[in-house]
Symmetry: C2
Subunit: 142 residues, 2 copies
């Protein structure tokens, strides 16, 4: 197996590699999880939309150059198709003592199956309300 292009046989494997690479702030490992194409889309919490491999890579380079954060996930809800799998989940940034450092981030991760296995196509992340559990606060207007 080519270590630079691991084969992910399930979207769950690709997702585990994505969060592992984030934990280690390993940009090379992180970018092997993404589909190598111009269609990929990444939105960080409060940020603009980055489209295409080069822009997505640069956005993560900037993040990894900042404060290191340990990210935990929860509330994963997966809708798996034959070629595309959609995961909705919460991310939690953890600080000392394994305590959350701020409100959760709501994430939609979309994976696509290709010749090299499952790869990340879209990562859309946005801050959840600071207060609370899902549903505990009225939603804002569109």
């Amino acid at each position: 197996m080519d270590a630079s292009r691991p084969f992910f046989s399930t979207p769950q494997e690709a997702e585990a590699a994505f969060y592992d690479a984030r934990e280690r702030a390993d940009i090379e490992a992180l970018m092997t999880v993404w589909a190598d194409d111009e269609e990929i889309v990444c939105i960080h919490p409060g940020g603009p939309r980055h489209a295409g491999y080069t822009a997505v890579r640069e956005s993560w380079r900037q993040i990894f150059a900042g404060t290191r954060a340990t990210v935990r996930t929860s509330h994963t809800h997966a809708i798996q198709g034959v070629l595309i799998s959609v995961h909705s989940l919460h991310e939690h940034s953890m600080g000392p003592g394994n305590r959350p450092t701020r409100q959760p981030v709501i994430v939609t991760n979309i994976y696509m199956r290709g010749p090299l296995g499952w790869r990340l196509l879209v990562h859309h992340a946005s801050f959840a309300p600071a207060t609370a559990e899902p549903g505990a606060r009225p939603t804002l207007l569109h």
Copy 2:
């Protein structure tokens, strides 16, 4: 054709019906665009995750009970598979004189093809940075 369950032969038709129903604040028309199942997920800007038909419907009912907004879309980027189609786009709330009332909203809409045609499975919406065009502002840390 049963008017209460229109058939959408493309994800674009489903998306057009979604924004048309929003324009008219028509909850019944809006909910026919969504897949009728417990897997659907909806995140409004700054809001929590709503999962399942009942919770999603209630979230839109609250929105439609508030201020009416005209929503325009732009920057649509579609990745269409056989059974799932992923649309990334910007929404703009328009006020008098057809001017944007605030910063754009970045949206990921995911459609699924079923026996009744294409239906909305996930709507994830989050505020873009207030200032600017995509890429004009550094992204926040995860």
